[in-house]
Amino acid sequence: MELLCIRQWISGLLPTWLSAWCIKPVGGALVRQEPEYILLALMGSPLKKIMLCSSEKEIFSVEEQVMVQHSVIINNMIEDGSYNHEESKIPLDCVDSKTLKKVIDYCTHHTHHHNDNQEDLEAWDAQFLNVDSNGLYDLLMAANYLEIRNLLDLIYGTIKNMIKGKKIDEIRRIFNIKDHGFTPEEEEQNRKEYPHFY
């Protein structure tokens, strides 16, 4: 609908007492809050976007609902009002653009596809985490910082699977462990006693 039509339609719908509340103090002056924003806020509009800023100063616009559902940190910021939609962007100095984009992908997909069947979601997750261990590390740090529980659990599970049941030489390769830190004698003895682990 045209913005004008929405405005008229909403003004018609709003009870008088709420219309009176379309007033918000900003910088000492009373400013009339646009009614459609209030109603949209009341409805939890999926269209409302927020801005996230990567460490490389790149801005990503993402649906508020998506990030609020997944990130405890962002949810708290929105709830306590420290994020102003018109002006603010959330600076994420520890997350680079590549990682931030992936995090947003994850949250977006899981919000929009939460009704998908379990198998499909798991397949998507597996594909999503098909990154090298550096990438996994960056995602883990970002998920931890933003407190995205399900992404964290997913990554922990993946790291677990990189270890469980694998031979030691393979684990070292996957985790890029070049210097194992054992003395040559220790390493030799270990290989002698546990040959089938290597």
Binding site: S133, Y137, I163, I168, F175, D179, Q189, E193, P195
Partner: protein
């Protein structure tokens, strides 16, 4: 933000490690790199020590400062067949004393084939405030006084399991030492106790513990007290009855049947000493929900066993006496399609003639009819290569196969040939076989097959088999995953042992008794391999009082980081690396 090589922070790794609990995986983690070794050892909560002499209490405590659960095994497996003399070792006390000081928050202790004193039990009772689980499997050396200390002091005890231990039963009073306020019992196994326990105390204990899931009574609990106990614990999942006999009275029977029917969660039954067959139908109401049935004490005949077993369509595990006979096993094969494990024990192992109609055919039927069968222990008096071949082809998913043909060196009864090809078929087709016990007439050829095909084999038991060292050599050089090898009365000697000395460091232990290993070879082995304890056992006197070439009575070799043990009895000598005979 590119890193040349990154590493996950310690907290991350610790968190990930907390999801990885199997001993094998934890060992793996600690071998990846030094920093993982450090992180892992601080967050290890559970440890399994397969041989208590492979490590010492101080070494364990130093490496793992925060344990909550410890499992220790003592004597070698052949102790079960009385091949390990009294006083050999496996003393739990030094461990328990050390852990009492180091692990105030220890929750679980599981011991197998160890000597446990009342003093040790008292230390456990007083030292660990949050103690929850005590399992003493095939242990000995303690009395009911020690149990009384546990009962009186362990407020948070959940599990007390004395399976197959030898307990000096001084009095059944100890059960009353559980305070009235104590309600956290979940599992109680007193099946090995000889005397009567205080039945009133037992009933009260059972009825006030709402989480009691496992209750295994001893023989002395009379059948007519069972209904009351069951009514006090309708949530029971596992029950071991006491003596299953009584004067045949209809009210006792109906009382019992009703009580059983009331246990809707009961899935496992055992006990059944002195069974009166006419009481067996009392369990019929719950047969359809049973997954595990241990009738190894039930001396009832095949028709009664058939009637019982045919009703247990969900059965996964059956332990039974050979009274079941081939007919009964055929019915089992037809009725219990979910069967995973079968053990058939001999009712009269020392008799010269068969007393029951149980032959290789019974096992063949089960192998045909039960697609999920993985684990077999079978005592019988005759076997053929053809039958073994059939079993192998029917059940390539077998993981444990222990065959005990009662008479040593029995050939294939049809062809009079050795059973090499039959067992060869087993190892060839059952690619995931982890445990194998051989019997019957066997030459070196069977060991050739085992070395070639037994790549996943972890434990091998051999008796009265083979022709020469070549047999032993095949096994030691071929079985990549071998952990435990136990041999008795085989003509295996020095050559194979010394040629494969390095292999022994990759295994938990090797037992050889009444073989052809010379004292000289034992000394050489001890010298060559400082990380092995080479223990010679000889009850007829010090081995160096005889020529170097004379065979030792018993040899037990195991890897260790603790050096020679210091608690050996007079008939055990360690071959030290300075080739002096070391006695404790």
């Amino acid at each position: 933000m590119k890193k040349a090589a990154y590493s996950f922070p310690e907290e991350v790794l610790e968190h990930v490690f907390s999801f990885i609990v199997s001993d094998k995986d934890r060992s793996s983690i600690s071998l990846v790199c030094k920093s993982w070794y450090e992180i892992e050892r601080w967050c290890r909560r559970k440890v399994f020590v397969g041989n208590c002499y492979a490590v010492s209490p101080p070494i364990l405590i130093k490496r793992f400062p925060e344990l909550r659960s410890v499992t220790l095994k003592g004597k070698p497996h052949f102790a079960d067949f009385n091949l390990v003399p009294e006083g050999w070792g496996g003393f739990a006390c030094p461990w328990i004393r050390a852990m009492a000081g180091a692990y105030p928050w220890l929750e679980e202790i599981r011991l197998k084939r160890m000597v446990v004193s009342d003093e040790s039990l008292e230390i456990i009772a007083k030292s660990f405030r949050n103690f929850k689980v005590l399992v003493l499997s095939s242990c000995e050396g303690f009395t009911t006084e020690g149990l009384a200390a546990i009962a009186a002091n362990c407020r948070n005890l959940r599990e007390l399991d004395l399976r197959e231990s030898e307990v000096e039963d001084l009095s059944g009073r100890w059960l009353s030492d559980f305070p009235d306020s104590y309600t956290s019992l979940e599992s109680l196994n007193i099946s090995c106790l000889g005397n009567e326990v205080n039945l009133l105390a037992l009933e009260r204990l059972v009825s006030r513990c709402p989480n009691l899931k496992t209750l295994r009574l001893n023989r002395a609990v009379p059948l007519d007290r069972l209904p009351n106990l069951l009514r006090g614990a309708p949530q029971l999942a596992e029950l071991g009855t006491g003596a299953y006999t009584s004067e045949m009275r209809p009210d006792v029977f109906s009382n019992l049947a009703e009580a059983f029917a009331g246990c809707k969660q009961l899935k496992t039954l055992s006990g059944f000493w002195d069974v009166l067959p006419s009481y067996l139908p009392a369990v019929y109401p719950i047969c359809s929900q049973l997954i595990s049935l241990n009738l190894s004490y039930a001396t009832v005949q095949s028709p009664d066993l058939i009637k019982l077993v045919s009703r247990c369509e969900k059965l996964q595990k059956l332990w039974v006496l050979d009274y079941i006979e081939d007919d009964g096993l055929e019915v089992l094969a037809a009725s219990c399609k979910d069967l995973r494990e079968l053990r058939v024990f001999p009712s009269d192992p020392f008799g010269l003639e068969p007393n029951v109609a149980l032959t290789e055919q019974g096992l063949v039927s089960v192998s045909e009819g039960c697609p999920k069968l993985q684990s077999v222990l079978y005592f019988c008096r005759q076997m053929s290569n053809a039958a073994l071949n059939t079993i192998a082809r029917n059940r390539p998913n077998l993981t444990r196969f222990r065959l005990c043909i009662i008479e040593p060196r029995s050939p294939d009864y049809l062809t009079l040939q050795p059973l090499d090809d039959g067992f060869g078929a087993i190892v060839e087709h059952c690619k995931d076989l982890r445990r194998l016990s051989l019997s019957g007439l066997l030459t070196d050829r069977v060991f050739g097959y085992i070395g070639t095909y037994g790549k996943k084999l972890e434990m091998l038991s051999v008796a009265f088999a083979g022709d020469s060292d070549l047999g032993l050599h095949h096994v030691l050089s071929g079985c990549d995953n071998l952990r435990k090898l136990e041999i008795r009365d085989c003509p295996f000697g020095d050559k194979a042992l010394l040629a494969n000395a390095a292999k022994l460091e990759t295994m938990r232990s090797l037992w050889m008794s009444s073989c052809s290993v010379s004292f000289g070879a034992c000394k050489v082995l001890g010298q060559k391999m400082p990380r092995l304890n080479v223990e010679v056992m000889d009850e007829s006197g010090p081995p160096d009082s005889r020529p170097e070439s004379s065979p030792v009575e018993k040899l037990y070799v195991y890897r260790t980081v603790a050096g020679p043990r210091l608690d050996m009895p007079g008939f055990v000598w360690t071959m030290d690396d300075n080739s002096a005979l070391r006695i404790s």
